[in-house]
């Protein structure tokens, strides 16, 4: 915020140094003001583009099939029945399943990733090749990886269970977690660890007593990002949770598309019910979320 303030104030100051030519000054001043106006207009436009589709979804969720087909955008007589129908279905169960798998998976991913990320960032184990190799599976569509996973889960008797899906999510995101945490760990001054080492702490104590406490904001940030990735995941969930009591919300939503008669209103209401939990989490934790995305993804 302060950065932008100084920048904005700096422009008139700079143009003032060119005072000998007043005509340029006014022209430039005008151009700059027009630029600001254009910028504000663009931001407003972007916000509209982001928000309108979401509002349209809300609008559809309270319309009957006939109202949608008649080409109105905002119903005068809201059909709340869609929401009741969506609520009285396996959907809430699916949302709960998704939340359990998403957050359970994220916590496990972090537990597995922190020692790895610390080792890589501090000791330069394996150099650049290792960190490249760790992320390489993420570059490919994960479809084929489903096959060995399915076999593995069947062997340990966890196919079609939420536990199985949670474990798969946990393993799947360890590379992403390491990659995102790397930027945060590098910010911890090495001196702190050095002084701990001089005081006689071993590697495990160093990790648990010094590194992890310093990483708490990063763990929240990365954890939320991974939980959202898990919550939104669809492909693995369709194959690993075929039974009704283990199905996640994305699977249920995609399933509504293959119904013989598609009820747009109920689908919209269901989509919104699915989105509300993560929207709430994202709004509450947006500072951490933005921090995690910007520090982790671009180093």
């Amino acid at each position: 915020m302060t950065d932008t303030l100084t920048h904005q104030q700096a422009i008139p100051a700079a143009t003032a140094t060119k005072a000998p030519r007043p005509s340029t000054l006014t022209r430039q001043g005008r151009r700059s003001r027009a630029g600001s106006l254009l910028a504000s207009g663009w931001v407003l436009g972007a916000a509209v583009v982001v928000v309108v589709p979401l509002l349209y979804l809300v609008s559809i969720s309270v319309m009957t099939q006939a109202q949608i087909a008649s080409g109105i955008l905002v119903p005068t007589d809201p059909a709340w029945q869609n929401w009741a129908d969506a609520w009285n279905s396996p959907l809430p169960r699916g949302v709960l399943n998704s939340l359990i798998a998403a957050f359970g998976g994220a916590v496990l991913s972090l537990a597995l990733a922190v020692p790895g990320a610390w080792t890589i960032a501090r000791h330069r184990t394996g150099g650049k090749t290792l960190s490249g190799l760790i992320l390489s599976p993420w570059l490919l569509p994960p479809i084929v990886a489903i096959v060995p996973l399915l076999t593995l889960l069947r062997m340990v008797g966890l196919s079609n269970t939420l536990t199985g899906l949670t474990l798969v999510y946990a393993l799947m995101n360890v590379p992403v977690a390491i990659w995102l945490l790397d930027g945060f760990i590098r910010r911890i001054p090495v001196d702190i660890e050095e002084s701990g080492r001089i005081d006689g702490a071993n590697e495990l104590q160093l990790l648990c007593r010094i590194v992890v406490p310093l990483l708490v904001p990063a763990l929240i940030a990365v954890g939320v990002i991974i939980a959202i990735l898990n919550y939104n995941e669809f492909l693995f969930a369709t194959f690993l949770t075929q039974s009704e009591e283990s199905q996640t919300v994305t699977v249920l939503l995609a399933g509504m598309l293959s119904e013989r008669v598609q009820d747009f209103g109920r689908m919209a209401a269901s989509s919104l019910i699915a989105v509300i939990p993560i929207f709430t989490i994202a709004v509450l934790l947006q500072r951490w979320l933005v921090e995690g995305l910007t520090t982790g993804a671009v180093k």
Binding site: P141, N232, V249, A297
Partner: protein, 274 residues
């Protein structure tokens, strides 16, 4: 070490499955050598899909990066860096792709969808447009949904970089008499170029993997006009149960994606070291 195994396991599985006759239930039935690979390289469906996927990834990544950078700069210029705008920007990327697909299917719906309704308001009596059932336009419909969902990530990354840039350099250039446009072109843009390149890279990789949107919006159709590589792989593995072929297509996609991504990756790295 455990991590290494974890990372290498899917890769090893894909390579060995591509060299054998493998079905969903029974992988590695017999060794075929490069037969699967040769068959997939020669297949017109695979070639078309890889071409489509590459064009889609580059197009979507370019659109997202240009729009995202422009929005980030506008946001930075207009001072509205408040919490509200940041939260609004976050929303599309945390919506599950399945929901984004459903939402844009509604928007493109020829019977009372948002676009259809708006066109009817502007010019009553005009024909209906079923974008997602058109062999030429369906992929653009999917691309639009994709751009809507992930452009905010580019905005966020570039905007943060703009806020974090070194003010002293900018001020020095201003004292030397650089005007607004020169300042932006020669100082600001080069300083955030690395971030823009990195955002483009992330976007490119995400677009190469697009699956959920296609599954929900078009199911690869009409015809095979939106059959992107990830969807084709899914179809061979889980509808035709031919894991050998699916693994071969995955390898081909890996090669194509690497060829496309590597130059961008180098550019990103060079900017980081400057």
């Amino acid at each position: 070490m455990v991590l290494l195994v974890l990372a290498a396991y899917p890769l090893l599985f894909i390579v060995s499955a591509s060299l054998t006759r493998s079905s969903l239930g029974q992988p590695f039935q017999e060794f075929l050598g490069t037969e699967n690979l040769r068959a997939t390289i020669g297949s017109a469906a695979v070639q078309n899909s890889l071409l489509l996927g590459t064009g889609y990834a580059i197009g979507v990544a370019l659109a997202s990066t240009v729009l995202g950078t422009a929005t980030a700069v506008a946001l930075w210029r207009s001072l509205k860096s408040g919490v509200i705008i940041r939260t609004v920007l976050l929303l599309p990327m945390i919506v599950p792709p399945v929901v984004v697909g459903i939402l844009f299917s509604f928007i493109f719906s020829p019977s009372g969808g948002l676009i259809d309704t708006l066109i009817k308001i502007v010019s009553p009596g005009s024909g209906t447009y079923a974008i997602l059932s058109d062999t030429t336009w369906a992929i653009f419909g999917v691309a639009l949904a994709d751009v809507w969902e992930w452009t905010p990530l580019v905005v966020l990354l570039v905007f943060t970089a703009l806020l974090g840039q070194d003010q002293e350099i900018t001020e020095a250039a201003q004292l030397d008499g650089a005007n607004g446009l020169q300042l932006f072109g020669h100082i600001t843009l080069p300083m955030v170029a690395g971030t823009i390149a990195a955002a483009f890279l992330i976007r490119l990789i995400l677009a190469f993997k697009v699956f959920d949107l296609v599954y929900v919006m078009t199911a690869g159709g009409p015809g095979s006009s939106t059959e992107v590589p990830a969807y084709l792989i899914w179809r061979s593995a889980l509808q035709n149960f031919d894991v050998g072929t699916a693994a071969s297509i995955t390898l081909l996609l890996a090669v194509v994606a690497t060829i496309v991504t590597l130059p961008v990756f180098w550019i990103t790295k060079r900017h980081r070291h400057d």
